[in-house]
Symmetry: C2
């Protein structure tokens, strides 16, 4: 994974989608390394949650973006597997509903944010409003141009409120997308995921890549950086994003709240209570 | 587990909390049986989700209630483990926030409901408003009396909209709660879960049991029955609730939507696209 810096010009074609930067040497090692991170992730998640019960406002928001078939859904499934689902707030954003369309584009995003102590995961996000919206002219040019700044201010306000924001662009190649779409055709249990429009959309591939480049350039900020994840290899993608999540949780270093009660006194009181609760009414 | 029927008078003290009705013979067999259900649950969940993409409105809502330490959080963790977290909407309800208190008691519940194709899990629920609210006089008597009917009408409206509602009361004994609270005291990583108020609350045990009996009597309806789950044995509790979820999903029998496109034509078009997307712009 590569952390992008604001203002840096991004040429997606210069990044190899099958690369495994800083990763384990091969798939077997990758799967093992990812599995090993699980317990550590679960432990840190529990501490993050525990700390929130004592007033710690911190939380994590993982944003996943990428072309169709880039593996956003698979990432959610694999990266969150070791976590306690009660502490995860996962949301997949599809085309806006009629109600959502009546509101500013960040409205539905605000309603899906993780609360203190939670790990939020967005499968697609407010970035759709500068990606598909730009490629398909879903809003006036001037408005889309304005959204990058709006997004940066929004993410800054989240960071100020205790959010750690980790944005991942899952980078696959045009050829890999073809392979994955063909694989969906070969598997009857995956036909429901197939949409003929996805084939037409491939004609817009260069326009989408350009829209991603602009978003990555304008919205990589110190408080909410973009990470570029080569994603043709699923095992690497899962390893890289688990690793990013782990590093950010380690940096937060959440702590169990200190006991604020007299343990011995509590033990005595519990043991002194009659065996039959009815006896005391 | 025992399905309760409306109008039936409920005496909780008559149910053994360490019983394992219809369950596997012992813990090892229980864990194995629960694990075996995992793949089946995941497959049905995927079909439920897939069906929703073709307009199927159905969804499942699992409601968990029980005394402190009865294992609601542990149930969420274990029962949802085999599921795809993207298709789960899990919500734990704590004491209402000031904003929530400004609204009718069902307001926050409606906002947390699963969408079509999802499996929702509530750790506590609208039943708190006839449980703790009744025991602690948090609302006028007349209002609480009115809520049972409101809840039944609400759940009926959900059923009409495609909800399958499965409500589980995790039944533990007064002694088992003592053991679990003592175990929390013994484990520094669990002190954050300990609240001295939980000891005081034990004096209200009979009042809580009574409030549960009334709720189970008045709100066991054909469209949203209550199940009584003996919960002193965690392995049985997890087995029983996984089994209930499985049976309800099997009864729904969701189907993958039929492919509504010409597969061969799609394959041909994909293969015909040039290797370099830039070539076509």
């Amino acid at each position: 994974m590569l952390r992008l810096h604001g203002g840096q010009s991004v040429d997606l074609s210069s990044y190899r989608t099958r690369a495994t930067p800083a990763g384990p040497p091969d798939k077997a090692a990758g799967l093992a390394a990812t599995a090993r991170m699980g317990e550590h992730l679960a432990g840190l998640q529990e501490r993050l949650w525990a700390a929130s019960t004592a007033g710690d406002r911190r939380r994590v928001l993982l944003v996943l973006q990428g072309m169709d078939t880039s593996g956003k859904g698979g990432t959610v499934k694999h990266v969150t597997r070791p976590l306690n689902p009660s502490g995860c707030r996962i949301r997949a954003f599809r085309a806006p509903t009629p109600e959502e369309r009546k509101h500013p584009f960040l409205w539905r995003i605000r309603r899906a944010l993780p609360e203190a102590g939670e790990i939020g995961v967005f499968d697609r996000s407010h970035y759709e409003d500068v990606l598909i919206a730009r490629v398909r002219d879903l809003a006036p040019h001037r408005e889309i141009a304005h959204r990058y700044g709006e997004i940066n201010r929004f993410e800054q306000s989240l960071a100020d409120d205790g959010f750690t924001i980790v944005k991942c662009f899952l980078h696959i190649s045009y050829e890999e997308q073809r392979r994955r779409l063909l694989a969906r055709l070969d598997n009857p249990a995956k036909h429901w995921k197939f949409n003929v429009g996805d084939i037409d959309d491939r004609d817009l591939w260069p326009a989408y890549q350009k829209a991603y480049e602009i978003a990555l350039e304008r919205c990589s900020t110190p408080q909410a950086p973009w990470y570029l994840i080569p994603a043709d290899r699923k095992w690497y993608r899962n390893w890289a994003i688990s690793k990013l999540l782990l590093e950010h949780l380690e940096a937060l270093d959440p702590q169990y709240p200190k006991a604020d009660f007299d343990m011995e006194e509590s033990r005595r009181r519990l043991l002194a209570q009659a065996p039959d609760p009815g006896a005391r009414l």
